[in-house]
């Protein structure tokens, strides 16, 4: 029996490949995820190994756990609160410390060749000492005021080298002349930052006038381990300070975002789920075609169990082969996703240049997934096939029409769908929307549609096929009939496409609602025509010179100017950002929805709180709120509670807490301005206000001016990077689905050799045969597109409403594009089967066996 199995597997290589194809992609996604994670980790470790790696790093926190260790934007270590110089000395005296370095970080912006601060990457001003000598690509480390080093990426982009004379804006101040004395290629800095490195003394003078440092790097004396030093330092510095061993930071830094891994694995699971239907389908078709062969084996004495085991063994072999192939494709997927995620900043190391890491556990998982999926999918078809009576070998009717979709299926599916849709709608209509109803209803609807698949496929084929039959004549009619000749098989073929397009439709609808809501919120709330900020952004919150606001205020072309300053503080016991502004100016550039009190009531000693923060902290008008910074602590009184429209996040001048400028200055002691919103005077010629602003700010090269239209575009595009990742992942499911369609078509053509031969004999030409198969693919894909996009749109709409986004929107054009792409891809997928069908040997078909 084993010999029979092996022969049977390898006798039909095409069949083997087709069966394996569906598993290969699923395994490739799972394996790709693990390979990517491992490779990213290895890459990250590699990176860390090349860094200077302090034995212990210390930072000061305002309270709580201090939040994130590394910036999502730039990957740099986050210094929460400045550390007084005296603490560096104290740390240096701790037993076991060989030496302590106070690292000074801050806001220093390099002015590029175009005369503006370099945008796109976050500015980082930092002290660079002799320990960086090893990382120099050119020149030397800075030693005197007026000397700086920059990073290699910036040097390459700006074609700046050693000896170049540049200007630097520090904390929004007047541009300072500087000479580049070195270019660093250091693993300490990611490509997301533009580094301006000063010698430690200059860094202290420019970036930390009060003598504070960002964080402390400690190196242990010989024989002292990281952990021992960590214990000693933690004990010596007491509360308010956090110490991390080098190993802990390395682990934290190299661990790719666990959310990313989860998303990847969920997408893989969806792909495998979709793939398993294809495999099941493929096995069913293949075994149906082999009915006579199996019956013959039964005739000559093979037992049912024997036969079943043989088939399962065959599927296991297919699974092993698919897993091996999947591993290979997994490397490719890891490479592609790695590039995508690295570009998005989700993983630290650029894995495209690193050799892929395929760990033994990845191989084991790939094998388990491949063989498991194959066995599970083959189980049902194997059972059914082995029930064939031996006498079937003697009958000729191999091909039977499976016209009937069972009534139970129709009833159960319809009931689940109707109940699900009803629950979703009930949940949506509830005020506030009932998420539990919507979720349960969504699951029920999806399952209902899944069960109802064959019934829907038949019904839809009539609707979709009718015009095709009319336009394409007899070929169209035949294609329509063939497409749903076996509704269950068609439904199984469709399912992966339905799953993929449901996800796409869901995402597109949710994204459209999110975008429309955020743009709607922006339109309703922000009244400003211009937005100004320091170039680059990032964790150091680059500042503009306070004089920028004054100059703008003096412009007759502007009706209102609101300057906003922000700083990280501890407020009501949590780390958060607090914004300072002139309350009178705020209401002229912005109109948030007042929930209680009015922003104009905000005076010195008062604070305005967002509704969500007020609810979370239990604050009401008149409540006292304690705000603590590194400099001061104040207790303020809640004077107003405001609210932003749901879904409006990008380009909000402030988040949860707003205080008057006077209080801000006393708390922060920093006059730098983070953002300015300005409104043009009515009746000006277009461009006049902008020209005036440009003229007024000629001496402030680090200020980036954005007009309202661009802001609006930003708001709308905010979720695009995340969308791209999701679309790519779900796109893979659709690729699997297309394989499935090609696969089913190819197999059904093998089954229909005689039929196609007959058609050829009675005068169907090759072009018509190809067209027939293509139209079958189109009809199948169109049915899948209609079901998937309808379901996805419905669920996306329900989710939009449940999330309380004010604007739900159906992105009709985008959905139509998805549908058209799916159908177009299906036509491509049908290409090979269609050509193969057109080559069908007429004689073989008409010659009776």
């Amino acid at each position: 029996m084993l010999r029979y199995t092996m022969r049977s597997v390898f006798a039909h290589k095409t069949r083997l490949l087709l069966t394996a194809a569906a598993i290969v992609l699923g395994v490739a996604m799972v394996a790709g995820t693990f390979i990517l994670t491992d490779t990213a980790k290895a890459g990250g470790r590699n990176l860390i190994d090349r860094t200077h790696r302090a034995d212990v790093t210390v930072r000061a926190v305002l309270g709580g756990d201090g939040g994130e260790l590394f910036s999502d934007e730039t990957g740099e270590f986050i210094a929460v609160r400045p550390i007084p110089a005296s603490v560096v000395d104290r740390a240096a005296r701790v037993d076991g410390v060989a030496h302590a370095t106070g690292v000074i970080v801050g806001d220093a912006q390099l002015i590029g060749r175009d005369g503006h601060a370099i945008g796109g990457r976050a500015p980082l001003g930092r002290s660079i000492d002799a320990s960086f000598t090893a990382d120099l690509r050119a020149g030397r480390v800075p030693q005197a005021p007026g000397e700086i080093v920059i990073d290699k990426t910036t040097a390459d982009d700006q074609t700046l080298g050693v000896g170049a004379r540049v200007r630097v804006v520090v904390s929004g101040g007047a541009p300072l002349p500087a000479t580049i004395v070195g270019v660093l290629d250091s693993p300490e800095f990611t490509e997301a930052v533009t580094l301006v490195g000063f010698d430690p003394a200059t860094a202290r003078r420019l970036l930390a006038p009060r003598g504070e440092v960002g964080y402390i790097e400690l190196h242990a004396a010989p024989g002292i381990g990281e952990r021992r030093l960590h214990g000693a330092v933690t004990a010596a510095l007491g509360p308010g300070y956090q110490a991390f061993t080098g190993a802990a930071l390395a682990a934290e830094r190299t661990e790719p975002d666990s959310l990313i891994k989860q998303i990847l694995l969920v997408a893989s699971a969806v792909a495998l789920f979709a793939g398993s239907f294809l495999i099941r389908n493929t096995f069913s078709i293949i075994l149906a075609a082999r009915t006579r062969e199996l019956a013959l084996l039964r005739c000559v004495g093979a037992g049912r169990g024997q036969l079943r085991r043989a088939i399962l063994l065959e599927s296991a072999i297919v699974g092993v082969l698919a897993a091996a192939l999947g591993l290979v494709f997994g490397v490719a997927i890891a490479w592609l996703l790695g590039g995508l995620l690295h570009a998005g900043g989700a993983i630290v190391a650029d894995v495209s240049g690193t050799a892929p890491r395929i760990s033994p556990s990845t191989v084991a998982i790939a094998l388990a997934v491949g063989v498991g999926t194959a066995l599970v999918s083959a189980w049902g078809p194997a059972r059914r096939a082995t029930r064939v009576p031996p006498v079937a070998a003697l009958r000729g009717d191999v091909f039977t029409l499976d016209r009937r979709a069972s009534r139970i299926r129709a009833v159960v599916g319809a009931a689940a769908t109707v109940a699900g849709v009803a629950a979703v709608i009930a949940g949506v209509l509830d005020d506030p929307a009932n998420a539990t109803y919507v979720r349960a209803g969504g699951v029920a609807t999806s399952l209902g549609v899944l069960v109802l698949g064959p019934v829907l496929a038949r019904g839809l084929s009539r609707v979709i096929g009718a015009p095709i039959g009319r336009v394409r004549g007899v070929v169209g009619g035949l294609a329509r009939d063939n497409a749903v000749r076996s509704p269950r098989r068609t439904a199984a073929t469709l399912l992966p496409l339905v799953i993929g397009l449901t996800l796409m439709g869901f995402l597109a609808t949710l994204a459209a609602g999110t975008k429309a809501s955020s743009v709607g919120g922006f339109d309703k709330t922000l009244r400003a025509d211009f937005h100004l900020e320091a170039a680059g952004g990032g964790p150091h919150r680059p500042r503009m010179n306070p004089a920028v606001a004054d100059r703008l205020t003096a412009l007759p072309e502007l009706a209102a100017v609101g300057a906003f300053q922000d700083i990280e503080v501890t407020v009501a016991g949590h780390n958060d950002i607090i914004t300072g502004a002139d309350p009178a100016a705020v209401t002229r550039v912005l109109s948030p929805e007042p929930a209680a009190g009015a922003l104009s009531d905000l005076r010195a000693g008062g604070i305005a709180v967002s509704r969500s923060a007020a609810e979370a902290e239990g604050l009401a008008l008149g409540s006292p709120v304690t705000v603590r910074t590194a400099r001061a602590e104040r207790t303020l009184t809640v004077r107003a509670i405001f609210d932003f429209p749901k879904g409006y996040f990008a380009h909000r001048p402030f988040e949860d807490y707003l205080i008057a400028s006077a209080d801000y200055t006393s708390l922060a002691g920093d006059p730098g301005v983070t953002q300015i919103y300005a409104t043009a005077r009515q009746g000006l010629a277009p461009g006049a206000a902008r020209a005036a602003i440009d003229r007024a700010l000629a001496g402030y090269p680090n200020v980036v001016i954005t007009d309202r239209a661009a802001l609006r575009r930003d708001v709308s595009a905010e979720i695009d990077p995340a969308l791209r990742v999701y679309y790519s992942l779900f796109g893979l499911v659709i690729v699997i689905a297309l394989f499935g369609i090609a696969n089913t078509l190819a197999l059904s053509i093998l089954e229909r050799v005689r039929e196609i031969g007959l058609l050829r004999a009675v005068g169907m030409d090759r072009r018509q045969v190809r067209s027939l198969i293509r139209w079958e693919a189109i009809i199948i894909a169109a049915i899948g597109a209609v079901i998937g996009l309808a379901l996805g749109t419905f669920l996306g709409w329900a989710t939009t409403v449940t999330l309380d986004l004010p604007t739900a929107r159906v992105p009709v054009a985008q959905l139509a594009l998805f549908g058209a792409l799916a159908i177009g891809a299906a036509v491509l997928a049908a290409g090979i089967p269609a050509r193969r069908a057109a080559r069908t040997n007429t004689l073989r078909a008409v010659t009776a066996e």
Binding site: D481, E755, L758, G763
Partner: protein, 252 residues
């Protein structure tokens, strides 16, 4: 009969002709010569039977003459058209416009109704079918009430009669039937043969039928006997007894 005589005036008397055709399968020492310099003519408006034992090459002859298979040597003429000179595309067109087929089994598309199967070649060619001719045909084939049924709902005899009607629907110059009664019981078989006979007598149709059944051959106007890839005999107005005797002599 008058109608067919009238048509015969401007159509060549020979509907199809094979001249010295050779067909070999395989190559080298294992090659099998299915047709060995076969020359044969089928008259217009006549019902001809091609007889022979298994392996005599009778089916191959039919396939070659119908443009379903190519010949290695010789010429195949349908009317004035030399099939051996036609490319794949023109052969396909020729098949659907000038030739009708009835096979032993699997004649009908399972997804189409009987009526749809009958008009299939015409629709593939993008032509409409003469309605009155169709009615006449359906009446002759005796399927009036079964036209809306799918093949699976028809008996074997009914299926073959639908196939015969399909073959005749486009008024082809010639109908090739390959063992059309091979899978039928004797009653269904004789119904089908009666229909073929009628179509020759009443509509002037030319039919060439391959069979190994002497009773079937007895419905034909003439019989051509093949053995080992050669034409060994012809017989006008064959009867079952004479055909049987001839076949016995051939060692079938």
């Amino acid at each position: 009969m008058a109608a067919s005589a009238g048509q015969a005036a401007h159509v060549p008397a020979i509907a199809a002709r094979a001249v010295e055709i050779v067909k070999t399968y395989g190559g080298g020492p294992g090659a099998v010569t299915a047709l060995d310099h076969v020359s044969v003519e089928f008259g217009h408006g006549r019902f001809s039977a091609v007889m022979g034992p298994s392996g005599s090459g009778k089916s191959t002859l039919l396939h070659c003459m119908a443009g379903l298979d190519s010949v290695d040597e010789g010429t195949v003429l349908l009317g004035d058209t030399d099939l051996t000179r036609l490319g794949e595309r023109r052969l396909t067109r020729l098949r659907r416009e000038r030739i009708g087929f009835v096979f032993q089994s699997f004649n009908l598309l399972p997804t189409l109704t009987a009526a749809e199967n009958i008009v299939l070649p015409a629709r593939l060619a993008g032509r409409t079918v003469d309605r009155s001719w169709l009615d006449q045909l359906i009446d002759a084939v005796g399927l009036g009430d079964r036209l809306g049924h799918k093949p699976a709902e028809l008996s074997g005899g009914q299926q073959q009669r639908v196939a015969a009607a399909r073959a005749l629907a486009a008024r082809p110059e010639i109908v090739f039937a390959d063992e059309p009664t091979g899978n039928l019981d004797s009653r269904s078989g004789s119904e089908l043969l009666a229909f073929l006979r009628r179509s020759v007598d009443e509509f002037g149709q030319t039919i060439v039928m391959v069979t190994h059944d002497p009773i079937a051959a007895a419905h034909a106007d003439e019989a051509v006997f093949l053995a080992d890839g050669r034409v060994v005999d012809t017989m006008a107005a064959p009867t079952a007894e004479r055909v049987l005797d001839r076949m016995k002599a051939l060692g079938a």
